[in-house]
Amino acid sequence: MSLVPLSLTAEKNPWSTSLDSIAMHEKTIAQLSAGLAAGEFSSEELTDAFLERVRRYNPQLNAFITLTAETALAQARAADERRQRGEAGPLTGIPIAHKDIFCTEGVRTSCGSRMLDRFISPYNATVVDKLNAAGAVMLGKTNMDEFAMGSSSETSFYGPVCNPWDLDTVPGGSSGGSAAAVAARLAPGATGTDTGGSIRQPAAMCGITGLKPTYGRVSRWGMIAYASSLDQGGPMARTAEDCALLLGAMAGFDPRDSTSVDRPVPDYTAQLDRPLNGLKIGLPKEYFGEGLDGAVAQTVETAMAEYRKLGAETVEISLPNSQLAIPAYYVIAPAECSSNLARFDGVRYGHRCENPKDLLDLYTRSRGEGFGPEVTRRILVGTFALSAGYYDAYYLKAQQIRRLISDDFQRAFEQVDVIAGPTSPTVAFRLGEKVDDPITMYLSDIYTIAVNLAGLPGLSLPVGFVSELPVGLQFIANYFAEDRLLNVAHRYQQVTDWHLRTPLAFA
């Protein structure tokens, strides 16, 4: 791999001005990497600039739970030294933020929960280790829905995250802190996790690019589990190219994760410029039906027209079991979470109630106090779904439906290369609007959930605005075709500038 990443983004993009005149925080990772390589600025300067932005803007956004300024600057200096030695890679010295679901040694890892408010992780997640090894600098830990359960980043113990495009709206969730941080240019890139849409939906609502890789592509070691068979970590950044750079460092086989896939990691930037001539894009009719906001549909259709101009062909397809994805998900995810979160019992780490009178009291009060209402709801649903007499009707049935949904996708990929549709049925909704109505909230993930059930890779990229709020377009590809998704998004980003727009208040 070349040590200096080549980015032609700026030259090719008709809307961009020359690199020098762009403020540091407005640059993409690829541009910042080039700047570091050219010695225009040091990682320390860069890191300092972003830390300053976090200090200045985070109070409005609440995107960060923890800022790690000191270690960030130390990492930045180490990155600068590494560059001096000629050992820098594309991410060396690039500041990023980690979703607070990834364990970071010596740093609070809260998962957005009171349960882990004082949990200082004794070890690093593999994703964190890998990005450290690539020389990336951690600015801090981003806010999120508690234990990644939510679609609005409102269920956090640390308060809701605001959408930089309109502070009265949600940034989406659960990786809302990462999405808002990238959108407001508080970090050039961030990590996220996606169990039912938690990277793609906030990416859409915040107008950035987010990729959920194939299940097994990115290690889950040290990524606090919500629903183990659905969870997958991935990159969030402004451009597909930046996502490619981040994914290249995050992905790879991990012997510590039994579900990690032992398969070489390609250079995700290698295929970015591949022309889209002859690309067959499938548009599932089920993704354009009832429930989809008309203006969002129109925006997606405009994007499809752009793709046709790029040489792609669009065809209508059908994913007949789509409407079953949400019901199946709300059995499988809660069932797994009810078991995954049982370890939080107040004994070895995490919140413990005051003066437990007996063992039962220790358990019920520590857990009752430690978890918020949405987590409690999902644990209860999952406990019920697995309980004696209900297992077959709920869990087994949901797993059968999971198979049907997966089979739908495989049939579709016999006809088309990628599948496209809206990432979310609406643009960002208002803070508090759905917080007391779980069902309405759940429907926000209607187009993203099936991808997790099948384990496929999916990407969301910004394709326009409705009521001054970003609209996301989702692409879905077959297993391990992340490079194709990034290519499809990158080509579009060469001829559009939605991904370069910055919310006015944070410009």
């Binding site: 040290g222 049982a342 370890r343 358990y363």
Partner: protein, 478 residues
């Protein structure tokens, strides 16, 4: 009314691996609390299990040894319940698809017949930690060193009909797992422990009675006593108009009785489901073939071979094959001596085993190895010493005085086989006992023994007993 007892055993054998079933922490016994509980064993947030290859190999070996089906596909499931010694609040086990199913084991009954006991299944699971109830200001202390230790849970069919059969089965299984080298069999340390399901029914009835489960029996004696107590309790209960309730009971070895564990009786709903952190365990032919190649000669086969190759009785062969170590020791002795397998058998089963027992010693740590024992037996064989003197020599060898030959020389124990020397001693004895000689010659044959004794005594036991016999007969005739 005549009653029939129905017993099924669930035996937990701790597999003899170096590291845990899902983590790289050590399984060594007796470490300081929580020093062998790694992030995975503690169930820290974000940790994941990866299965230990040797655990699977051992389970496959066990399956093959009991003629069971070793599953090509088995699945790990979570058993969910809250308990302080269970860090994740679920135990990773196998539920619907165990790694081993449908095996059998033949046990020997007291009347000399044998009986085949069905083994329903054997599945892999992780052990829990330990709650220590010493008083820490009214609290219990939790040690998680044992958490994640690999267990093979072996579930029998309800084929056992008495406490004695249950013990015979348990002993046979214990012998098997130790033979296979998959379990150290140490019951004090909990490496091999048993839960017994006991019920009674009127003789001739085909429907099973309500069973009680007796938990955590960690010795053969406790199994026998607990089951006997439980049978009696159930029969008494029914005969006095009561009803057996399905429950978990605990055996109290001090009182010799079982008592109800009501605390465990609350409605348990384990909510089993496939562990999403682990994938299906797929064992291909090559894996099973390799496990088969790892199988040692099993006790039954070895016993038959001992009978055929060494001309041993069924009894001797079965005693010598009780453990692999004893059988190996015996065969090494025979090989070193190169002859007289029966003599070797007598010594290995006799003095050797007696000394081991006396000192509570392992064969591996025995002060006399097989080659050294053969060195002693060679001197019996070539008549350098008698069997009786050999016992004295063996004792000295055991005490660390050296090889048999050195001890024989040092103590001057070499047997007298020179006819004239023996005759000289006989003559002395006859001369010293004229009265007894007269009585003998008058027909009191019993006195022959007296003369033998005197000769042996005078020769300090070194005269060859056969020669003494032969020569005495002649001399006493006069």
């Amino acid at each position: 009314m005549e009653w029939e007892t129905v017993i099924g055993l669930e035996i937990h054998a701790q597999l003899a691996t170096k590291s845990k079933i899902f983590s790289g922490a050590s399984t060594a016994y007796g470490a300081e609390p929580n020093t062998q509980a790694c992030a995975i064993d503690l169930g820290l947030p974000g940790v994941l299990p990866v299965l230990n290859r040797d655990v699977v190999r051992m389970a496959a070996m066990f399956g093959l040894a009991i003629d069971a089906e070793v599953a090509h596909r088995s699945v790990f499931a979570r058993k969910n319940y809250f308990y302080p010694d269970l860090p994740k609040s679920y135990q990773i086990s196998q539920y619907e698809l165990p790694v081993v199913a449908k095996g059998r084991l033949s046990i020997d009954l007291d009347d000399g017949s044998s009986k085949v006991i069905g083994i329903t299944r054997a599945h892999l699971e992780e052990d829990a930690g330990k709650s220590l109830h010493e008083d820490f200001h009214g609290q219990s202390g939790i040690d998680l060193n044992r958490a994640g230790t690999p267990l093979l849970e072996i579930v029998s069919e309800p084929d056992l009909r008495s406490a004695k059969e249950a013990v015979a089965y348990m002993k046979k299984l214990h012998q098997m797992v130790v033979y296979l080298g998959i379990c150290d069999g140490n019951m004090q340390e909990g490496s091999f422990r048993c839960d017994a399901n006991v019920s009674v029914r009127p003789k001739g009835e085909s429907k099973l009675g309500t069973r009680a489960e007796i938990k955590n029996l960690n010795s053969f004696r406790f199994v026998e006593r607990a089951i006997e107590f439980e049978i009696e309790r159930q029969i008494d209960l029914i005969e006095s108009g009561g009803k057996v309730v399905q429950e978990t009971r605990l055996y109290d070895p001090d009182k010799g009785e079982t008592r109800s564990m009501r605390s465990k009786e609350e409605a348990n709903d384990y909510r089993y489901f496939p562990d999403p952190d682990l994938l299906p365990l797929i064992l291909d032919e090559a894996f099973i073939h390799a496990a088969r190649a790892d199988l040692p000669e099993l006790p039954e086969t070895k016993k038959r071979r001992f009978m055929e190759a060494y001309g041993l009785s069924a009894y001797d062969a079965s005693v010598l094959t009780t453990s692999r170590a004893l059988a190996d020791y015996y065969e090494a002795t025979v090989a070193a001596l190169g002859a007289e397998p029966k003599l070797c058998a007598n010594w290995v089963m006799g003095d050797f085993s007696a000394f081991l027992n006396k000192d509570n010693q392992d064969i591996a740590n025995s002060p006399v190895n097989a080659g050294q024992l053969a060195g002693l037996l060679r001197r019996i064989q070539d008549r350098t010493i008698s069997g009786k003197i050999a016992k004295e020599v063996f004792e000295a060898m055991w005490a660390g005085e050296g090889e048999a030959d050195a001890i024989i020389e040092k103590r001057g124990l070499r047997q007298i086989t020179d006819t004239s020397a023996i005759e000289k001693v006989i003559d002395e004895v006859i001369a010293a006992n004229p009265e007894q000689l007269a009585q003998y010659r008058a027909g009191k044959d019993k006195l022959f023994g007296f003369f033998v004794g005197q000769v042996m005594k005078l020769s300090k036991g070194k005269a060859n007993p056969q020669q003494v016999n032969d020569l005495l007969v002649e001399k006493l005739k006069g």
